[in-house]
Each structure stands twice: as C-alpha cells, then as structure tokens.
C-alpha cells in the first residue's frame, strides 16, 4: 500500500461537478507535481485533501490510516486532528500580519499545548510528568520557539525572525509560509501554485527551498505552472483537466504526451514561458 492513497475523490459545487473521481497514490519521500490549465480543479483537490472543503465522495489514507472518508461523519475535533497529516502553502502566503515571522511559525504549535497539557496532566494518567504543569508549558514553549528558529534557518530566514510579513519580499513571505507549514511536521506538504505571485528571481529562491525539502525526503504535492521545475524535481506528474486525471507519469510524459489535451497545454505553457522570458529581457 502506498504512503498516500486518494481514492475516487469527488466534489461538486451545486450542479458543477469539479472533481470527477480522482485516484492518486504517492510513496513516502516522493514529490508529486499536479499540472493543468486553470479551472481544472487542482486547487479544489488540494482543498479537499486539507479539509478546507469536504469531498462528497472518496477517501484519503496516509501511511495505512484512513484520514478521511466521505462515508464517515467526523466531528470538528477529529477533522482538526486528522488534517495535521497535511500542510498547505497558499499562493498568497496568508501569513498572520500582526505577528513577526518567528511567531507566525510557532504560534499554531504553541496553541496546541493547552489541550496537550490538559490530557497529560489529567488525574490517573500513568505518563503524567513529574514537573509542574506551568514548568512543562514553559519548557515546551521554549522548545517550540527553538524549533521555529531551526525551520527559519532551513528556509534561509534566520536574520528575519523579528520582521513582520509586511516588511518582507514575496519570496521571503512564501519561504516563511513554508516554514510555518512545516511547524506541525505534516506527513504530506501541499503547495498551491506557490510561485505564481512571484517574479522569476523570487520564484527561484522559493523553488530552491522546495528542492531542499525534497532532498530531506519530504513527501510533497505541488500544483505548479513551472514546467521545468516539475520535469526536474517531481517523481510523478499528473495532468488534470475537467476534474479528472487525464495523464499520469514521470518527467518522460512531458516529452511524449499521449493526449491532445496535455499536448495543447504544454505548448501553451511553453509559449507563456518564452513570452515572460522575452519581456524579462526587454526590461
């Protein structure tokens, strides 16, 4: 059984069936690139995986454990617990503007401490720590901050931990958002067009971070229009059109598209790339 298994995922908005039965598998440590023209349902797929919308049909399994099944009714708390298997990096970063980069990264983990402490220090828990609850919290908080620092170092933002999002470039914001998504150690990290709002230089620095994460063995799903990145870094590429996976394969598939849809999409992307390259030069 594969590390991540998505089975027959379906989602409709009213009469509009956006996902028409998506099946996907991904091995641990692999990178999946999802490509396809706008409106094909790529964002909806990632949103279903992260429970930002709930799929109408289908199931999601990570490491042999069912995280979601449309047939099951979950409580809010269960969904909150299960979604931690996944992280999501948005195109528009969505950093918290009122906190500095460091706090952006450790906030969510700190907010989980309350519930954890309650459980840990409950009467009759055999693993109840010997220290006082307040000391435990202090220690954990300090550790979370240190972990956040390490994550910022990993994305090359050590010198910016005190900066607020409004003081950073788009590329720096996106790298901070990646560090934040890593803070809860998700099993699978998803990216929805992480570089679409960035110029080529900043795109490069973000893609480099993603390459580093691949080298670390992170399992990732990336919706992207960066065809050369997909070719070089993805272990698996799927082409999505009209809510279905039309083609699925490795980088070779890009050289040798089997369907008219993918062929047209690739030549369109190539055209866009040369156009941006040209305007880039003329500047």
């Amino acid at each position: 059984m594969a590390y991540l298994e998505i089975k027959n995922l379906r989602k409709s908005f009213g009469d509009n069936e956006v996902l028409k039965g998506i099946d996907l598998t991904l091995e641990k440590g692999q990178v999946l690139a999802i490509i396809g023209a706008s409106g094909g349902g790529k964002t909806t797929l990632l949103r279903c995986v992260n429970f930002l919308t709930l799929a109408d049909e289908g199931s999601i399994t990570v490491d042999g454990k069912e995280i979601y099944s449309a047939a099951v009714k979950y409580t809010d708390k269960q969904l909150r617990q299960n979604r931690l298997q996944f992280g999501l990096v948005f195109q528009s970063y969505n950093l918290f503007p009122q906190y500095n980069i460091l706090k952006n990264v450790y906030l969510a983990k700190n907010l989980r401490l309350g519930a954890q402490a309650k459980e840990l220090f409950a009467k009759g828990n055999p693993h109840r720590p010997a220290c006082k609850k307040s000391d435990w919290l202090k220690k954990e908080r300090r550790q979370n901050v240190e972990e956040a620092r390490a994550l910022l170092a990993k994305v090359g933002l050590s010198d910016k931990e005190k900066a607020y999002p409004c003081e950073l470039s788009g590329g720096q914001c996106q790298r901070a958002a990646i560090a934040r998504a890593l803070s809860l150690s998700p099993a699978v990290l998803c990216f929805d067009e992480p570089t679409s709002a960035l110029d080529p230089q900043l795109t490069k620095e973000v893609l480099n971070v993603i390459r580093d994460l691949k080298a670390e063995g992170r399992t990732m799903i990336i919706v992207t229009h960066e065809m050369s990145f997909a070719r070089q870094s993805a272990d698996k590429i799927v082409y999505v059109e009209g809510g279905v996976i039309v083609e699925e394969g490795t980088a070779e598939m890009m050289q040798n598209p089997q369907t008219e849809g993918l062929r047209a999409f690739l030549s369109q992307e190539e055209e866009n790339e040369t156009r941006t390259a040209n305007t880039g030069e003329s500047k």
């Binding site: 429970f51 969505n94 907010l111 999002p165 803070s183």
Partner: protein
C-alpha cells in the same frame, strides 16, 4: 457671578457629562459586540431582527431616542418611572446612549470582522487551530487595528453628543450654563462650556492617536 463661581458650577455639570460619557463607553463597547454577533448569526430570524433594530437606531435622531426611553416606559406602565427616581433622568439618558452607541459600534465591529480575508481563516484552519483560537489569535488583533480609527471618531462624537441629554433635563454642563443664563442673564458661561468640550476632546484625540501609533507596527 464671577468667573470662578461660574467655573465651579460648570465643573459640577461637567462631572455629570464625563460620567455619562464614560459609562456609555463602558457599557456600549461590549454590548456592541453582542449586537454584532446578533447581526452575524446563522439563525436568520435573530439576524434580521438585529439588523432591523440597528437600522432603526442608526436611522433616527438620538434626541428622539432619548425622549422615547424617558417617556415610553411611563406610558406603558402608566407611571413616570424615570422621573420618579432620584437620578432617573441620568439613567434614562445613559440607556438611550448605550443602545445608540452599541448599534454604531456593532456596525464598525462587523465591518472590521468582515474585512479579515478568508485566507487568514483558511491558514489558521490548516494549522489545526480551533474556531475560537482563530478568532482570538488571528482575527481579533487585526480587527482591533482596523477599528481603532472609526471607533475613535465615534468616541469624539459621543463627547459632543452627551450635551443632548439636556433635552430630558439631565443636569449636565450645558444645562448648568443655561440655568446661569436664565437666572443671571449671563450668556458667556454657555460659550465657556464649549471650552470644556474642546479640551476634553483634545485629550481624547491624543489618547486615540497614541493607540493608533501603538498599533502601527505592522500593515495588513
């Protein structure tokens, strides 16, 4: 009457004005949150009822509302409730002000909450935060930053609006000055009363500016 006698009398009235101002804020700022929750609830009857109420309060003169609060309970119970209490007039004015300002504040809160982008909620959700944590740690700080300027404007208006309490004979600074006018035929104390408002608003403006500067360390 000489200047210091007038000043002393006006100060007494000004005490009432200040008390009305402060108590109105103390009650209407939190009550506004409640009204705001009502106007955003998923329970439709309550939502429409709240919005209709806010519409009426914001759409009619505060002076009229003062009369309504002061006289209508007496008409309903067939006894002048507020007029019989020792500080009933003040209480009636306070109730009218609190209701009126809570409605204005609720709309400011609503605008502030609705201006926080969906992306902020989604980022919080993906990070496993509960609804309450999201509101408290992500949404609320941004709302506060956004609403301080418009709330400030309302507060400055409130300082001046307190003088309306005089229409139901609350013994505020304007009423005191008018009394001096009719008893001693002196007009200048009335104008002098304006200086009190001016100075008070100067102080309020300074405090608000301080708050805005405190919140200026980031942009949304």
């Amino acid at each position: 009457m000489n200047f210091s006698q007038v000043t002393l009398q006006l100060l007494q009235g000004f005490g009432v004005t200040c008390l009305l101002f402060i108590l109105t804020l103390v009650f209407s700022l939190p009550l506004g949150l409640l009204v705001c929750a009502g106007s955003r609830t998923r329970f439709k009857p309550l939502r429409y009822l709240t919005r209709a109420f806010v519409w009426v309060i914001r759409g009619t003169p505060l002076m009229l509302q003062l009369f309504v609060v002061f006289y209508v309970p007496g008409m309903v119970f067939d006894a002048p409730i507020f007029a019989n209490l020792s500080n009933g007039r003040f209480v009636a004015a306070l109730i009218a002000f609190v209701i009126n300002y809570a409605c204005y504040f609720s709309e400011i809160y609503r605008g502030g909450i609705e201006s926080v982008s969906v992306g902020q909620y989604e980022a919080s959700a993906v990070l496993g935060m509960s609804k309450w944590q999201t509101f408290l740690h992500v949404v609320l700080p941004q709302v506060i930053k956004r609403i301080v300027p418009p709330i400030g404007n309302e507060i400055i208006t409130l300082v001046k609006d307190t003088s309306l309490a005089r229409v139901i004979a609350v013994f505020d600074i304007i009423m005191v000055a008018e009394n001096i006018l009719s008893l001693h035929a002196l007009i200048w104390p009335l104008f002098y009363a304006g200086v009190f408002f001016l100075l008070f608003n100067g102080l309020v403006t300074m405090l608000l500016r301080f708050a805005e500067r405190k919140l200026d360390y980031y942009k949304i």
